[in-house]
Symmetry: C2
Subunit: 488 residues, 2 copies
């Protein structure tokens, strides 16, 4: 590929002759890795025209670079970056003059430095990746996703690929979710009560922005989803963490002054607790009593291989106070970034307007691809396949864990893709995770899920959505061995 | 496609016998359009197992529905929704009981009801669509985009399709932007100084969230990009609209107490004014003097068919105070939702963390597709083709406008894809646009771009990125005729 002429730029403040500036510009581009060996330079005529200099100036610069071995010429076909040109290790632009901006002052609001679970990008290289929430290539129906994507790239779907939807979504996807997905959770919703989001994270954020302000109070689960508490901590609102038990969030802990309750009743994150039907009713009654809204994060309901999931809170809600958040991140893949939020029309009108102001709409092509994948039945097949595999892995997990005497602190009764573990007192699971790296085992330390000053350190999460079944036994054995080595 | 068994749900509070509940559930599903003619019901065994009822109960319910003509049976192959079943016109779920939530109270912050330019979704059906910012199917290189997308769907790119990137981006796309796109604007940036966003709107929003709070003041252009002012109005910050002239934003109008200046120097939106180099320097000097940050929205620089664009503000900035916002919405298509933001590392760290909390990352597949499209040179070809077409259309526009004596209030000296028009005093361009609908002409009334109490009504925008050249003359004639009919 040739180097495009309009990547060349004479800086208005540059020093030296035009010829020298051109030489320097090209040499710098090569040294910094912008131009690579073998790439063709623009013809001297084109470059001269583009820069508004005489052709001879460019030719002289090229000739000079030729003699310096930065460029080679191949007869009439022009100038190329020489094989002998100095090659930078990888692209790193010049050190610039020291910036004078005081960023400490310029940044009005900070978002970095939060307590997030940082997962290694190279998790695929681990032999025993007990990681949560990534896609297993052996389970994702890549072939059919690709077919659907190719169909959605067709002429007939040109508008869904390219159009500015403004505040709207793909009507096909919305209709499918209304007709087929939500009924599985006992929910009926009109199209105008559904909004597509960039995954559940985006849905939770949109809901929080609409329902909270500096005077309002959010109740969250403790331990709970760390990206939710981090997000809320950066909003102007009060936060009350409520300790969950084996049945999830206890309704009688919800303080009177609560405005919004964030909960994950299907599989509490991270303990995997499933809230029993009785408690769901009590939670709704409590919310009714104090007139609080509920945001129900139902991120994982499809993975219910061990029994039918309980009805969603939303399906039991006659007041209209439950906002339902769904996601295809667990059942399909997180990289697609598709979730949805369901609620009463006045609420959806606000999140729709907010989404418009912050990002307009999730890309239409991905929405249309998902609509095809769902409506052609591939989604159901995929869920069945994933559930069957998770069931097997779960059995292998429980068997190995029992053999080695490790302690499960929480196991989703309906399924799910992780177990919540408790190491013996005195074992710091972060240190445990660090030591396990040497044996190519990846576990997720649990401290990040807790709110408050005395965060326990002995919990950890074992995901089994990305580890092969035949790796489970050895991986668990390594964890048990590393745990034994602690002084407790 | 069969109806999945897990879309069936016995409501815990339902009245009547189990058989009646099952019948009602199916009948309702048909009446409401969830189940369609010809769709197969689950076998009685499966449904019984799923609902935890006896098989005979399900069989009796099916038999009853058969005699009511809701279902038909096809011998041993099972039960199907009957062709004689009542067919609803389109899917509309049941009227539910009145909700009791007081949404007026529950909504803590409102985002809807803003002054946005609402473009008709059916703009493609207009014969003379002088619409701005949509994709022209005759100009977008659909074939090569599709090839790149298919390549990005391959096994080799499985991770970019499916992985949770968390706060990261596709390194291929970042590198391409650093090596090839930014140098065209005279900008050098390291990968950690670039973040991919969901279009320019998302980039502007992220920047505003990091740089502004309730004590800080933003200066914006008046008239200016309506979605920017709407977005800022919903943030806790002060806003000063500054009247632009034929050269864009006048630096000496920027008040001393300004913290952030939002500007679109390449093609001021909507007047299309291009800021001369001298004024760019003055604006930087003014920002330096009062220690204000600048957010430079360079959304349209590629469409510079009438002359090379001036260097970006960012390329002239030695302080590090310019945040640069780019977008592929105009050069490729808005439906892809790809933009980027470039700034100093401390700033990018914050917008990256904020993006993580609000949506994690833009979908990897689209990032990878764009990286291929760019690196294979299709992008350059596309820009050349689009620029050539826009140049021709612009000539046709100016010719027709001159013939009919209409007034151009702003024309981008370097190109662009719109003209800013001024109707005679007394002509309300909204009313003008309404009258033109009958002649299948679409224009964009300009009031929405103005801030302040006395918004002028006679301006309008004519986009020419989606109208065929041979339609231009007639479309302009219709506008002139409709203008003449006003009483002024």
């Amino acid at each position: 590929m040739g180097i495009a002429v309009d990547t060349f730029f004479l800086k208005p403040d540059a020093q030296g002759t035009l010829q020298a500036q051109i030489q320097q510009m090209i040499a710098e581009g090569i040294l910094l890795g912008r131009f690579r060996v073998g790439e063709k330079l623009p013809s001297s005529r084109k470059l001269a025209e583009h820069l508004g200099v005489s052709r001879i100036t460019v030719t002289l610069a090229y000739t000079e670079l030729l003699s310096n071995d930065y460029l080679t010429s191949r007869g009439r076909s022009g100038y190329f970056v020489s094989e002998n040109a100095p090659v930078p290790p990888s692209y790193a632009p010049p050190e610039r003059a020291e910036e004078t901006v005081d960023w400490g002052r310029a940044i009005a609001r900070r978002y970095s430095g939060g307590d997030m679970l940082l997962k290694p990008h190279d998790w695929r290289d681990y032999s025993y990746p007990f990681i949560y929430g990534q896609t297993d290539p052996t389970l994702f129906d890549h072939a059919n996703w690709r077919l659907c994507a190719v169909r959605a790239l067709g002429q007939k779907d040109f508008a869904s690929l390219t159009a500015d939807y403004a505040d709207q979504d793909d009507p096909l996807l919305i209709e499918f979710i209304a007709r087929h997905t939500l009924p599985r959770r006992g929910i009926t919703a009109r199209p105008q009560e559904i909004l597509i989001t960039l995954g559940a994270q985006n849905a939770l954020w949109l809901a929080a922005q609409v329902l909270l302000n500096h005077r309002r109070r959010a109740a969250i689960e403790n331990p709970g989803y760390y990206a939710l508490s981090e997000m809320l901590r950066r909003l102007p609102c009060q936060i009350t963490p409520l300790n969950v038990d084996a049945d999830g969030l206890p309704p009688d802990l919800v303080p009177d002054e609560t405005d919004v309750i964030f909960t994950s009743p299907s599989h509490q994150s991270p303990t995997t607790a499933t809230m029993p039907l009785e408690r769901r009713r009590n939670l709704l009654a409590r919310a009714h009593e104090i007139d609080a809204m509920i945001v129900e994060d139902d991120y994982d309901f499809e993975m219910a291989f061990a029994g039918a999931p309980s009805p969603s809170l939303k399906s039991l809600d006659t007041d209209g106070r439950v906002i339902y958040v769904g996601s295809f991140s667990k059942s399909l893949s997180p990289g697609l970034r598709i979730g949805y939020i369901v609620g009463s029309e006045p609420f959806i009108r606000e999140v729709r307007a907010l989404r418009m102001l912050t990002l307009r709409h999730p890309p239409g092509h991905i929405q249309r691809t998902a609509a095809y994948f769902l409506s052609l039945g591939h989604y159901d097949t995929q869920i069945r396949r994933v559930s069957a595999a998770l069931k097997q892995r779960r059995e292998a997990m429980e068997k190995a864990i029992a053999e080695h005497g490790l302690t499960i602190a929480g196991r989703g009764v309906y399924g799910g893709s992780s177990l919540w573990m408790k190491a013996p007192e005195g074992v710091d699971s972060y240190e445990l995770s660090r030591r396990l790296i040497d044996r190519s085992v990846l576990i997720e330390p649990g401290k990040v899920f807790f709110s408050g000053p005395d965060e326990p350190t002995e919990y950890y999460r074992l995901g089994y959505s990305s580890i092969a079944r035949d790796k489970v036994a050895t991986g668990i054995r390594y964890i048990a061995e590393a745990t034994e080595l602690f002084d407790f």
